[in-house]
């Protein structure tokens, strides 16, 4: 097992190094890589739940919670600091995740997904309709925050937020991997393979899933806060169901078998979007849809799975 994971870890290290260095050469990549890393953090949460065999089609609610935490702070309190935003975004979404989680972990599969979707749509309609507090569909602008009291010019700031995202992404990646390798993580996987046996072992499957769910909400919130800071705006669309679909899409694209799938998927997704949106303004969504179909039909284990399949074919050969 560990022998097979190692090459992926190597690729992960290379990926993180590239995202640290490449934007220094091309400055427009700074925002691109920051977005990739931030989205990757959210998708880590999706992958966590996929380990338990559960698909959340409403995870955008935590993404939006994180984003709006920063936005509300900027609107009602003023000022703000990246560290403060991220801490607050993580805490509020973890608390929100705990509340929603208490309800949803009682259900499995389609019912789990359905209830998540329902909760996220309630949040979305509140964000869209509570015009006086949320500015409705226009969203709330998130002013450029300082970092530990230092303020930056827009040019420097894109690098600041890139390295903050990178730091969090590396920590989250390492943390999730450690979690999945821990007894708690193995119990989470056991929910997918055989929940009945897990209960026979004297463990509460609901509690195991709840812990995973809260972590996943926490990651979603942090990713949301980062994206709100990077794009300097939070809109209700952050919590719409298509956003949730996008996160599940990225997870499957990258491969849900390993934590690095989150970043591999996010990199491919954002790159296709970045270049297709620039050159093929009218058809980028169509292209992404076709990519998704090809991946599902021909490489259901995602980009990570492709590498493993290639590796196995080589070993199996001679």
């Amino acid at each position: 097992m560990s022998g097979r994971i190692k090459p992926v870890t190597t690729i992960a290290i290379i990926f993180f190094l590239v995202s640290a260095v490449a934007p220094l050469l091309v400055s427009s990549w700074a925002t691109l890589f920051a977005l990739i890393l931030a989205k990757g953090i959210v998708v880590l949460g999706i992958i966590l739940l996929l380990q338990a065999g559960q698909v959340s089609f409403g995870h955008a609610m935590f993404f939006a919670t994180g984003a709006y935490t920063a936005a509300f702070w900027g609107k009602y309190v003023g000022g703000g600091d990246i560290v403060l935003f991220i801490a607050l975004g993580g805490i509020t979404s973890a608390v929100f995740g705990l509340i929603v989680g208490l309800f949803v972990v009682r259900y499995r599969e389609i019912f789990f997904g359905m209830l998540n979707l329902a909760f996220s749509m309630v949040l979305w309609s509140l964000l869209e309709k509570m015009f006086h507090y949320t500015n409705g569909a226009d969203g709330i602008r998130v002013p450029r925050p300082a970092l530990l009291g230092l303020s930056f010019t827009p040019e420097t700031f894109q690098y600041v937020i890139l390295y903050v995202s990178l730091l969090i992404a590396v920590v989250a990646f390492y943390g999730v991997q450690r979690y999945l390798d821990s007894p708690l993580g193995h119990m989470l996987r056991a929910i997918k393979s055989n929940e009945t046996r897990l209960e026979y072992l004297g463990t509460s499957a609901r509690r195991v899933l709840l812990i995973g769910y809260v972590i996943s909400a926490f990651l979603g919130g942090i990713g949301g806060t980062l994206v709100a800071i990077i794009q300097q705006i939070a809109t209700p669309e952050f919590g719409f169901w298509t956003k949730s679909g996008e996160f599940v899409f990225i997870a499957i694209l990258g491969g849900s078998a390993h934590a690095f799938g989150a970043f591999a998927g996010a990199a491919m997704f954002e790159c296709v979007r970045f270049y297709a949106a620039a050159h093929l303004v009218d058809t980028w969504q169509l292209i992404l849809g076709v990519v998704l179909i090809v991946i599902i039909l021909y490489a259901p284990n995602g980009l990570i799975g492709l590498r493993q399949r290639y590796g196995q074919a080589k070993q199996g050969g001679h």
Binding site: L50, V55, F57, F103, R106, Y107, E109, I110, F111, G113, M114, L115, L117, A118, F119, M121, V122, S125, L126, E128, K129, M130, F131, E195, T196, E199, A205, F240, W241, T242, G245, V248, F249, I252, D282, T283, W284, Q285, L286, L288, G289, V290, L292, I293, I296, L297, P300
Partner: protein, 299 residues
């Protein structure tokens, strides 16, 4: 709220419920038989609406009465062409695979159709109200309302409900569909072509979504994003009723339609919240829906 407004709200609710029912029952039928949540269902609704508008705008100069068959033709074309394609080339290769992949491939279909819709019909709102204007207004308890919305739409919905009931409970094809739903392997063993059943069911479900869109097209302006809104709404109705419940879907659509209509007149800003709040409340108490059969938890 006076009585005129109340009657207006009831009529609004009924006509809205009729449209929502058509779309939701298609979604519910597909889930009941194929066990797939068709995320592209809203896109089929939008395509049905746009194609119906195109057809009726084209045919209205010849004879405005021909717009009604045009609506029906548009929904069948979309149901067979798009629905058939999705089932045959996207879902069938995935049968037996993980649920998440089946769900996600319909999400891919949604993304593609959403984009195609903007490429084909543009982003400007389209109006095609000819079928609505042809039929006279009727007075219900002193309130004047278009007979298209208050008679034709509920009529079609009721006919669909009764037709589906009859088809599934009284005909051989219906019995075959139920058999495959109940036990795919056993029904295959006695010679039923399960693949064909899946295909036919999906096309019927897709046609119902397109029919909902086609019938909605004269009553509203067609804009991008209508599909994305409709899929969650119809999903909320189907899930609140209990996936696979046909009569339950009708009652739930009526309930949500009426509640929504009253909320529009009383507290308009909470209009979009209503169906999702109801869905959360119902699912928390009865995860299998209002009318779904309660299954015993495995552990």
């Amino acid at each position: 709220m006076n009585s005129t407004l109340a009657i207006l709200a009831i009529l609004d609710g009924i006509s809205y419920a009729a449209l929502v029912f058509l779309v939701s029952v298609g979604l519910s039928l597909i889930f009941g038989v194929l066990r797939v949540v068709n995320v592209a269902h809203g896109s089929l609704y939008a395509f049905g609406a746009y194609l119906a508008a195109t057809f009726s705008l084209a045919i209205a100069p010849i004879s405005p009465w021909l717009t009604y068959p045009a609506l029906l033709a548009a929904s069948i074309v979309i149901g067979v062409a798009c629905g058939g394609f999705i089932e045959r080339f996207l879902l069938r290769p995935l049968s037996g695979q993980e649920d998440v992949l089946q769900l996600l491939i319909t999400f891919a279909a949604f993304m593609i159709m959403d984009n195609l819709q903007r490429l084909i019909w543009g982003v400007q709102p389209i109006f095609a109200a000819e079928p609505l204007r042809l039929l006279p207004n009727v007075a219900v308890f002193g309130v004047s309302y278009t007979s298209y919305q208050v008679i034709l739409l509920p009529g079609v919905a009721l006919a669909t409900l009764l037709g589906l009931r009859y088809f599934l409970r009284r005909t051989l094809s219906g019995a075959v569909i139920l058999a495959v739903t109940e036990d795919r392997e056993a029904s295959t063993a006695i010679g039923i072509d399960a693949k064909r059943v899946y295909f036919v069911t999906f096309v019927i479900g897709a046609s119902l979504a397109a029919l909902g869109g086609a019938l909605a097209s004269p009553t509203t302006s067609l804009v991008p994003g209508m599909g994305a809104d409709m899929i969650v709404l119809s999903f909320a109705v189907a899930a609140t009723a209990g996936l696979g419940q046909i009569e339950g879907t009708a009652l739930t659509a009526l309930m949500i339609g009426l509640t929504r209509a009253f909320v529009i007149y009383l507290q308009p800003e909470f209009e979009v919240l209503v169906p999702y709040l109801l869905m959360v409340l119902v699912l928390l108490m009865r995860p299998f829906g209002l009318f779904g059969a309660v299954q015993v938890r495995k552990i």
